[in-house]
Amino acid sequence: MKSMTSFFLFTLTIISLIIGIILDSWSFLILAISIFSILAVESRGVLRGEVRLKVERKSEKMSLYEDDEIWIELSVKNEGRPLNYLEIFDSLPSDIDIVEGSNHQILRLDEKEEKTLRYKIHCSRRGEMEIGPIKFRYRDPLNFHVEEWTSYELMNIFVLPEVQNMQSVDVRPLYTKSWIGNIKSQRMGIGSEFFSLREYMPDDALKKINWKASARFLEPMTNEFVGERTGDVILVVDGYRKNIIGDDERNTLDATIRAAGTLASSILEDRNRVGLIILGDYLRWLYPDSGRDHFYKIMEELSGVREGGHWELQDAKWVLRDFFPNRSMIVFISPLLSKEISETLFDICMQEYNVMVISPNPLVIQKEIMKDHNILAEKLSQLNRDVILDKLWKYSIVVDWDPNEPLEASLEEVIRYWQRK
């Protein structure tokens, strides 16, 4: 593609030629020849062949947590003619900031030469980020010839929600399943805590024999242990639009997702199975499973949650009933702004579910965002919220969580209180 400069010089050539003929002046004809000679010399770059580039983008990892940084590497190999001025611009989403290096570079590439650009990005918001396409612009130094093209070499990075450390709190389901885990069940089985004594059976291992008891009863006695099992926990994330308060940077949805990620990590570490139901732009769910891979599946689902207006908390009822195992522990994470929520939760509690409600306090977020707030309105909202929480306390564990504080502290307090009760 010829640039405006070459068009400008070509026009000058024609004008000089016309003036030379009109004025019958040899000097203008010479001028036309001189300009034309420059245009001819500059066209040599184009004659050398086409522009061919091989582009490859690499990253040290494909998923990272919020506020983490990663290096992006862009290798460009010239497989065509030499390029003197090549501009490269790697398009980035607006949520990504560049910390080191630059996504916009100017290169000079000889034939078969390969150069690598590196830049470090900082991802401040969760979500699936698409890096690319790469825009190229080549122009010769005199700017006579310009070529622009785009390479659709895309890369998707998952920015996972932040996971808080929870070491002192264990969220354990009341009902256990048959798999071996870390939760002490009401049955005998494989475990470490003493349960009872029984008569020795021929298949019992020698290390299970209680020698003191055997001496007392004058016959061999065997120890029985409390069976340690796993349970199913289903996390229900409320992304209903009406229940979201806050702006792009701080909102109840992000707090809800962080809580879900933190709980998933902690529960899966205890070898339990975790399921997920997301009520957002779409109704999405993951069947309960355990392991590291399942944790990343949950985090990827959580990273892509967007607020929605169709699926409310009460819609989770039929998904739970039809698709998820009975006697699971349900953890609802919701700011509890909708009036219908408490009724839905009562319905679920009536069934064979062990329910926990974690509610990120929307009033805390709203107070931070609004500079001038009405104290009376705040008191009324708090009163309304207290009523809902009190109602829920009758049937479930309720955690009123201040999103500015670690989730672990709020959970620890409530779980201890519940255990004493």
């Binding site: 400069t5 400008f8 000058l12 003036i19 004025l23 002046s25 040899w26 000097s27 203008f28 004809l29 010479i30 001028l31 020849i33 001189s34 034309f36 000679s37 420059i38 001819a40 010399v41 500059e42 040599r44 004659l47 050398r48 003197n84 001025y85 080191e100 290096g101 630059s102 916009h104 570079q105 100017i106 290169l107 000079r108 590196r118 830049y119 010769d140 130094p141 005199l142 700017n143």
Partner: protein, 199 residues
Amino acid sequence: MKEIELDKVVLSASLMIVSLLASLTSYNLQGWWFPLISGFIAIIGLTMKREALIDLGVLASSSSFFYFIHDIPFSYRSLFLLLAMFFLYFGIWSFMRRSITISEIEKDLVRDEGRNFLEEYQEHSAMYYLWSMLLSFLIASIGSVVAIYSYVGPFPSEWAIILFLLFSGGVMLAVYTVVFILPGYFSRKEMPDEEESGI
């Protein structure tokens, strides 16, 4: 003082000298000051980083100079003066545009990572400009001589016109071969692979 600022000083001084030369050439004529004023506009454009002002200033200054000397009698000295002035104007104009491009790139390079590429570009583009101008000057000189012969010289017969056309075509073909084809041929010529050569 930064290199880029030194560039601007040198370029502004060069343009003023060339414009002054153009004014001196036309001192007895009306409007002798026009090349100087136009040159000054181009310098303002360079300071303000406005390409349009640079283009306008250099175009006005050079075209006024060429207009003043349009009826200059033909001689090889006049031809050399004309070509030299044109390439001086063109050289200053292209280096001014380069200076603006570099400052635009620098503005985008907030961080230091791209500075190596920029320095490489600065060095290479300067050489590229000089080499391009040298080649253009060579072709323009040959083309001018050919054109001048056809314009000034009397043609005694039709045979002479045909011979002249053949001669000028041959010259242009030779120039084209030397400038465009041979450098590409030499740069592409590689030693044969061991397998291909059968060693």
